[in-house]
């Protein structure tokens, strides 16, 4: 910065929605925070790999799902190749939930919502719930005995809470579109948000042990949960 430069408005400071958005984004997630190549020394356990394994399973689900979408819903019933990709789709879903549940266990026992990470926990739980819905509509989209039985059984639960009118599990077209579009988009957005929150806050640090400062697992300062330590 030299004094010769006319005191023009600093481009960084030019008020605009775009600039404001960029500055907010960079402030929240500077590149070294978004894609760090170092982690705190306490990040040293295999428990940490289940989040990324879940994410990897999600990618395999999406890729195998795209292959199935390519040839349409009837293909896998009549083609060996189709059946193979349907099988990959099924097993990657089993792996997805397998890893996701272990991830959930791990994060629970680490009380990973501490330190203003409650939104991270909540987006994780909501991702889990929406994933269950996505898998459920997948079962309904199979056009086989499973779909018939599951839809005619599930309708009673959905109807009993008043959802059945808007979400008709026996409407194959509706279920297929929810399964291949609406719900995967929801999962992807939720998982994306979850990941950004993880990177924004960083990995939760170890629970303080017999510290002079009482560590409140749910607390991050005064707030709705700022209760006394039990």
């Amino acid at each position: 910065m030299t004094t010769q430069v006319p005191p023009a408005v600093d481009p960084v400071e030019t008020p605009s929605w775009t600039g404001g958005l960029r500055r907010a984004a960079v402030r929240a997630l500077p590149p070294e925070k978004l894609l760090p190549d170092k982690q705190p020394s306490y990040v040293a356990s295999w428990v940490y790999v289940f989040g990324v394994l879940t994410l990897a399973a999600f990618v395999v689900i999406l890729v195998s799902g795209v292959v199935l979408v390519w040839r349409g819903p009837s293909w896998w019933h009549v083609s060996k190749v189709g059946l193979f990709f349907n099988s990959i789709h099924l097993w990657s879903v089993e792996l997805f939930f397998f890893f996701m549940v272990i991830h959930l266990w791990g994060k629970f026992f680490m009380a990973a919502w501490r330190g203003r990470r409650r939104a991270t926990w909540i987006t994780g739980v909501v991702s889990f719930v929406v994933s269950i819905g996505t898998a459920f509509t997948g079962y309904l989209s199979q056009q086989n005995f499973d779909s018939q039985w599951i839809s005619t059984q599930a309708k009673d639960g959905l109807n009993s809470v008043g959802v059945g009118a808007l979400f008709n599990v026996m409407n194959f077209g509706q279920m297929l579109l929810w399964h291949v579009l609406l719900l995967p988009v929801c999962v992807a957005v939720l998982v994306g948000l979850h990941l950004l929150l993880v990177r924004h806050r960083g990995v939760v640090r170890p629970i303080k042990v017999r510290s002079a400062v009482p560590a409140r697992l749910g607390a991050d300062g005064p707030g709705p949960d700022g209760s006394k330590e039990a």
């Binding site: 330190g115 909540i122 079962y139 009993s160 510290s211």
Partner: protein, 342 residues
């Protein structure tokens, strides 16, 4: 680097939401993701090659009427006289009041009203028969007689027919019943069975106002009113009272993640409640909300501290913290680091 970072103890004493200024390790997230992707892809391919995936053929009305014509006829006549589960279901299919589960005094099933109208007698029996009657004068006459009859006559015929089905026999494709007055119901049911056996009823129930159909509500409701589908499911351990929601056909793993939802249906009071679905759904919504809001719930959020798995997970961290403390307290070091950790 070492000069710029805090000691382990100093960093650990910072608030949980502060950026970690203590020692760090190299951690290659991108590499980790690629390895994870390869591992999962390989596992999924192994699953596909070794186990494939289940695909039990769907049940058709044709198959049902051929395998268990007695069950088909009993179901059809119950649709006609309004005694079937679908006919008495209520919203969102019709205005019947028989069903309508309650969550205590709330009845959300009634709130939204009829959105997927299904008239069991008309949709499953009378309309398909009317199509067939265009080329069948006998059936046309039977339908005309049924339509013209009083409700009590109709009821008497269907009741007699239902009773007669207890002793039904089949001679080829003919329905043979004990001699009673079934009115036009006997020829109507005979025709419906014939249509079902040829598969034309499958097509008729799918027929929607437009050429392309993707809504299987009507054929599925009709099939589900019979015992054939349920018996097949029962044999595969798929019924609600068999933890069926988490099971899959054959020996495949199913939706194990539905274990809690499934469990409620097996135990009191849900296993004997007429409102089981509504109550279990309400409970699961509550529990799911509880899981999502766990960080706000005193007691529950403190469980991890009481079940000290975290000490195992972070054992290296705590050991190093203890080592650092043992090597002599340094100026400015917070008390936490000096405490014995194990």
């Amino acid at each position: 680097m070492a000069e710029e970072t805090q000691s382990l103890a100093e960093a650990s004493a910072e608030p949980d939401d502060a950026d970690w200024q203590g020692p760090k390790i190299h951690y290659d997230l991108a590499k980790e993701f690629v390895i994870a992707l390869v591992v999962v892809a390989v596992l999924a391919v192994i699953g596909a090659v070794v186990f494939s995936s289940p695909d039990d053929r769907p049940v058709t009305i044709r198959q049902w009427s051929q395998a268990t014509p007695g069950d088909f006829l009993a179901t059809a006549v119950s649709e006609l006289d309004g005694s079937s589960p679908t006919a008495g279901y209520g919203p969102p299919y019709n205005t019947a009041t028989g069903s309508g589960q309650k969550i205590f005094f709330l009845n959300p099933q009634q709130w939204i009203g009829v959105h997927t109208p299904v008239d069991a007698a008309q949709d499953f029996v009378l309309s398909p028969l009317a199509l067939s009657a265009q080329t069948d004068p006998t059936l046309r006459a039977a339908l005309a007689r049924y339509d013209a009859a009083s409700a009590s006559d109709q009821q008497a015929w269907t009741t007699a027919y239902t009773k007669g089905l207890d002793k039904v026999q089949f001679s080829g494709t003919d329905v043979v019943l004990p001699a009673r007055d079934y009115g036009p119901v006997a020829p109507m049911m005979q025709s419906l069975l014939s249509m079902a056996r040829t598969g034309s009823l499958d097509a008729d129930l799918l027929a929607s106002p437009q050429f392309y159909g993707t809504d299987y509500t009507k054929p599925l409701l009709f099939i589900a009113d019979g015992s054939y589908l349920a018996d097949k499911a029962q044999a595969q351990h798929l019924s609600g009272d068999q933890w069926g929601m988490m099971n899959e056909t054959g020996n495949f793993p199913g939706q194990a993640w539905l274990w809690l939802y499934t469990m409620w249906y097996q135990i009191a009071p849900f296993n004997s409640s007429a409102n089981a679905d509504a109550l279990v759904w309400a409970l699961m919504m509550l529990l799911t909300l509880g899981l999502a809001l766990l960080p706000f719930i005193p007691g529950l959020r403190d469980i991890p501290r009481a079940v000290p798995l975290y000490r195992l997970i972070w054992r290296d961290h705590y050991r190093r913290l203890a080592e650092e403390a043992a090597s002599g307290p340094q100026a400015g070091q917070p008390p936490a680091a000096r405490m014995p950790l194990r």
